[in-house]
Every structure is written in structure tokens, then in C-alpha cells.
């Protein structure tokens, strides 16, 4: 009996193993085949995106530039181009490549998914900023247009991505975001950041590290050929001109300007009442709304009441209610001393 038992077990294991390897759609082999197909599609889509980008920046798109962007050989790149040509998405004009109208709408679809996904990551998840682009690069090839529309609906049809780039609509329209380069802001003028170019990533990371984000209010202090100096949220920032060129701003009219001083709620000592002046634009999406839902809007009186073991979170008295908030959030709430108390 024992040997038959062992035999049955072995047979069973064999079947499981075979299923594991060959099961349609789920097994290892079908998955590998699928992955290869997806990889080549991703490459094709990346070419289209690159071509669109070239068109947008009015530079020539060539087989060489494609090979550079995809980090592949010229031979590979021209193979991809040939395939796209045969699909009617790309046209050759001498050495320059152009998107056909089909190609443009395809590219816009990919860009739409990319930017929507970034917006999703920024608004609803706690994925860190440095990872947004990378994740979106992957997701843009995986989501179907229907998925993208569902995502857009869930996010209440956002119009711009977290860097301020417009998100193409489902019908392939892409609005032009108003604004001028930061370097064009006159001394003394107030501007709001509307866009930060997110490529190349190293430069973008530097700008983020300087505390820039779309929605930030700043005032130009000094504009020189090789640098600009401005004030934002109570701090002075100095940017070299090449960096400042990556940032676009719009003028803020008098009545929309945030009032200083920019002390954060975190810094307020326990028991002292303060009044909220603004919530930083770096606090976005779901988080921002939650804070406002709890009654914290400009003009609200807030008093820190309870410290936890580490002082983070703290509980604040807001409109008669105790509300616990983490330091990461109170860092983004600006306050001034309560005039009625001070």
C-alpha cells in the first residue's frame, strides 16, 4: 500500500508541476512568451512617445535619436521604425521621422496613461515622488484605454499631472497650459509654479529638493543672467538659470496671493492658538481633501492639544473637535498667531 500511496503522490506532484509550467495564460512558458511580446510592444510605444516629444519640442526625430533614447543598437531602432511605418503610425521624410495622425493619437493615448498614473500615484498612494515616473513608464504599456478612462473617472478627471503637464483627454485633445518661464518673471512679481519639467530626472530631483512643486507661490527677488533668486514659503531659493528654465509660472493677481508669514503648524507649541493661513500645494489629492474635510481651511483657529510619545502625531483642537495629524501633514499647514489671543 505504501508504494502505491507514494506513486499517487508523485504523479500528483508531476501534474501540478506540468500545470505550473504550461498552464495557458498562467504557466511559466506562456508567461514568458507573453512578456516578450509585451516588451516589443513597449518598445514600439516608446518610439511613438519619443517622436511626439520631438515634435512638441520642435527637434528632429531620427533613427539615431531613437536608438539613443531606447539604449539599443541602430539596427534595432531602424527595425522598430520599419514596423511602425508598416503599421501606418510613422512616416519618413528624408532622415527625419514624423508621426501620422494615427501615430499622434496613439502617442497621446500612451501619454495620457502615463500622466494619469502619475497623478494617481501622487494623489492616492504613498509612493514616493522619485518613483512616480518609473512606475508610470511601466504602467503606460499595461493599461488599456478603458482602464485609463476608469482611472480618470475615479480621480475625478484630473486635468494636469503632478508636474503640471496637461493630461490628454480621452478624445486625444491636449490643452496648452498657460505660463512663462521662471526666468521671465520680473523682480518683485509674484508667480505660481504651474509646471516643472520632469526630464531629465536628475535635474527634476534637484528642483524637488529645492522645495519646488506645482502650485507653489514665489516672489522674484533678483534676476541675473546666470541665476535667479526668489522667495517661497518664507525661504530664499537660488537657482542657476538652466534649472530655472525647467520651471514655468503664471502671475498671481493681488487678491489671490497667500499671506505670509509662513510658519508651520508643526512648530507651534502646545496650547497656543493659531490661525491657518494656507495649506501648501504640496499637500495634494486625498490628503488635502481629508484635512479640509476635518475643518482645517484658511481662517480656521487651531490649537495643539496633545503630544504623543514621540511628538508625532499630535492632536489639535479644530472647531471644537480633537484631530490627530502627523508631522508630515502639519509641515504643510501654514499658520499665524491668533490675533484674538496675542
Amino acid at each position: 500500500m505504501n508504494s502505491t500511496f507514494v506513486l499517487i503522490v508523485l504523479l500528483f506532484l508531476l501534474v501540478v508541476l506540468l500545470g505550473f509550467v504550461f498552464w495557458p495564460g498562467k504557466g511559466i512558458v506562456p508567461r514568458m512568451l507573453l512578456a516578450r511580446k509585451e516588451k516589443s510592444r513597449a518598445h514600439l510605444e516608446d518610439v511613438l512617445k519619443h517622436a511626439y516629444d520631438c515634435q512638441y519640442r520642435s527637434v528632429a526625430c531620427t533613427v539615431e535619436s531613437i536608438a539613443g533614447i531606447l539604449q539599443t543598437s541602430i539596427g534595432n531602432a531602424s527595425q522598430l521604425v520599419t514596423r511602425l511605418e508598416s503599421m501606418g503610425l510613422l512616416e519618413r521624410d528624408g532622415s527625419a521621422l514624423h508621426l501620422t495622425s494615427d501615430g499622434t493619437s496613439y502617442a497621446l493615448r500612451i501619454i495620457r496613461i502615463h500622466r494619469l498614473w502619475e497623478r494617481y500615484l501622487a494623489d492616492e498612494t504613498s509612493v514616493r515622488e522619485a518613483d512616480w515616473h518609473r512606475y508610470a513608464e511601466r504602467q503606460e504599456h499595461l493599461l488599456s484605454p478603458a482602464d485609463a478612462n476608469a482611472l480618470a473617472a475615479r480621480l475625478s478627471n484630473p486635468q494636469v499631472d503632478p508636474h503640471g503637464d496637461p493630461i490628454p483627454t480621452a478624445t486625444g485633445e491636449i490643452p496648452i497650459v498657460p505660463g512663462r518661464l521662471l526666468t521671465a518673471l520680473e523682480e518683485g512679481e509674484f508667480g505660481r509654479v504651474v509646471h516643472i519639467e520632469d526630464e531629465p530626472p536628475e535635474i527634476y530631483a534637484q528642483l524637488v529638493a529645492e522645495g519646488l512643486y506645482p502650485g507653489l507661490q514665489l516672489q522674484m527677488i533678483q534676476r541675473r543672467p546666470d541665476y535667479v533668486r526668489f522667495e517661497a514659503e518664507g525661504e530664499e531659493v537660488l537657482l542657476a538659470t538652466p534649472l530655472a528654465r525647467q520651471v514655468s509660472v503664471t502671475l498671481i493677481p493681488e487678491e489671490r496671493r497667500k499671506r505670509g508669514p509662513f510658519a508651520t503648524l508643526t512648530a507651534v507649541e502646545s496650547g497656543r492658538a493659531v490661525v491657518v493661513t494656507a495649506i501648501s500645494r504640496a499637500c495634494r489629492g486625498q490628503q488635502r481633501r481629508r484635512i479640509m474635510d476635518l475643518g482645517i481651511v484658511p481662517g480656521t483657529r487651531v490649537t495643539p492639544e496633545l503630544d504623543s510619545l514621540t511628538g508625532n502625531p499630535r492632536a489639535y483642537l479644530v472647531r471644537g473637535t480633537l484631530v490627530a495629524l502627523r508631522k508630515e501633514q502639519t509641515d504643510q499647514i501654514f499658520v499665524e498667531p491668533d490675533a484674538g489671543v496675542a
Binding site: S156, R289, D293, L294, G295, G320
Partner: protein, 275 residues
């Protein structure tokens, strides 16, 4: 204990709790649908339990009701279905609970929406009340936890509130069943149309935004004449709410309009149903 003017009958037998029959989960032949909205932790489920005899989970922390519950009761010869919506601080954000609450109050077309608020935190709670009143004009405000307010030496003037908000206001302590009779009476009156509300709409919208809202409201009203909550529709469109976009495109908004225009007819149909 009511902010509505006609209190003459507060003592007559028709309004005693004896008139309430808890139906539990029996939801057959309902005449009216009641929605129960409010901030988390204001006693919605306690009110729900008091009316239906069911046992929704209650407890003193925000967020315990995460699913929608339904129950029934009969009052003054009418059968009511009551829906305990998840507690929300607002209806203008994007979380799943809010969607449930928002959609039900608008598209579920409840005959009356009871907004339960915490008497000791009225200011914060009124945020939601004002939003609900943008959506529906058949609402009753239940100022719950009035016993707590008294302990904190706070006094809520229901007449002022009723005047300000334009809807019946009832002070209650649901856990002690205080004010439940009065709540039933007000719900009944609003649902049957005996009392017509004139809900307050938000007045202090900052000018820059108000201009856009007004313009779009006009356009919405142009497309859907007689829509009672055109401004809410406009506000939602400005937030990019897909549900509202769909409702505009599919013409679903017209169904809201029909109901608003023919309340009497509707009611007759319902009475006929139950006979």
C-alpha cells in the same frame, strides 16, 4: 422639541412612540425611503437601530460603519425603508463612502434625508449639512447627543437653526430615545409633503469661484429646466465628477426633474400600491 411651527399636535396620541412599529429587515411594500446621513460617530446607527429594531454596530470611534445597512419601520400607517449611509465628513471628495452617500441622496431619490449631527460639534457638522442641502430639499436635521451638549453646558437653539437652514430641526438623544417621536413626526411630514422645506444654499462662496458656479448653474438650468439642484450639478461638474458627467450625457438628470415636478402624482401612485 421641534423647530417647525406646528407643534399643536405634540401631545395628541398620533405622535406617540406607540405608533412606531419596527419592521427589522422587512422591506416589503415601502411607501417612503429615508436616507440617514451625517458625520462619522454622530449616532446615525443608534438612530437607525432605534427606528428599525436592528443591531447595527455602534461605537465611539469614527469609521466603524463601512457598509450600507437597510431596515424598515412603520409609522402612522406608512411603511418606511431607512438606509444607514456610511458616515462622511463631506460629499465633495472622492472616497468610496462619499460616493455611496452622495449617489444615494441624489440618485436614490429618498423621500426624506435625515442628517444626524453631533450637538457638541455643530460647526464642523454643518459643513456636511450645507452640502446635503445643496442636493436635496427634503431633509430633516437631527441634532443628536443633546445630552452630551447639556453636560458640556451648551445650548442649541433649534428654532434659530431651523430658520437658518430652512428645514425641520429636532433635538435628540438617540441612545436614550429622547426626541425619536419628534423625529418621526418631522420625517413623516416632510416625506408626505405636509411640510415643505426651503433649504438654505451656501452663501459665502468666494467671488472668483462663485462667478463660475453661477454661470454653469445657469447653463445646467437651461438644459434641465426645473431641476431643483442645478447648482449642485454645476458644482460637481466643476469637480470633474464622472458620475455627474454620465448623468448629464445619458439624460439621467431628467428623472430627478420628473419627480420634482410631479410630487402629488407620485404619492397617489404609492398610496394605490399599498391598498
Amino acid at each position: 422639541m421641534s423647530g417647525t411651527p406646528n407643534e399643536a399636535c405634540a401631545t395628541c396620541p398620533a405622535f406617540n412612540a406607540g405608533h412606531l412599529t419596527r419592521l427589522g429587515i422587512d422591506l416589503s411594500n415601502v411607501d417612503f425611503v429615508v436616507a440617514l446621513a451625517g458625520n462619522p460617530n454622530t449616532g446615525k446607527s443608534t438612530v437607525f437601530n432605534a427606528l428599525t429594531g436592528l443591531r447595527q454596530h455602534t461605537g465611539n470611534w469614527p469609521g466603524k460603519t463601512v457598509t450600507r445597512a437597510e431596515g424598515g419601520f412603520a409609522y402612522s400607517g406608512k411603511r418606511f425603508k431607512i438606509v444607514d449611509l456610511p458616515g462622511t465628513y463631506s460629499l465633495l471628495s472622492t472616497s468610496a463612502d462619499e460616493e455611496v452617500a452622495r449617489d444615494f441622496i441624489l440618485f436614490g431619490k429618498p423621500d426624506v434625508t435625515v442628517i444626524v449631527v453631533d450637538a457638541t460639534r455643530l460647526e464642523r457638522n454643518l459643513n456636511l449639512v450645507l452640502q446635503v442641502l445643496e442636493i436635496t430639499d427634503k431633509a430633516v436635521l437631527c441634532v443628536n447627543l443633546i445630552d452630551e451638549a447639556r453636560r458640556h453646558k451648551m445650548e442649541v437653539d433649534e428654532r434659530t437653526l431651523a430658520r437658518e437652514l430652512g428645514i425641520p430641526v429636532v433635538l435628540a438623544a438617540a441612545r436614550q430615545r429622547e426626541g425619536i417621536d419628534q423625529l418621526l413626526k418631522s420625517m413623516f411630514e416632510v416625506a408626505t409633503g405636509a411640510v415643505v422645506c426651503k433649504p438654505r444654499r451656501v452663501q459665502s462662496i468666494p467671488p472668483a469661484v462663485a462667478k463660475a458656479v453661477d454661470r454653469l448653474t445657469e447653463r445646467v438650468a437651461g438644459f434641465f429646466p426645473g431641476l431643483p439642484n442645478a447648482r449642485w450639478v454645476a458644482m460637481r461638474l466643476l469637480e470633474g465628477d464622472q458620475r455627474m458627467i454620465d448623468a448629464v450625457e445619458s439624460g439621467e438628470l431628467n428623472t430627478l426633474l420628473d419627480q420634482a415636478q410631479r410630487p402629488a402624482e407620485n404619492q397617489q401612485a404609492r398610496v394605490a400600491d399599498t391598498v
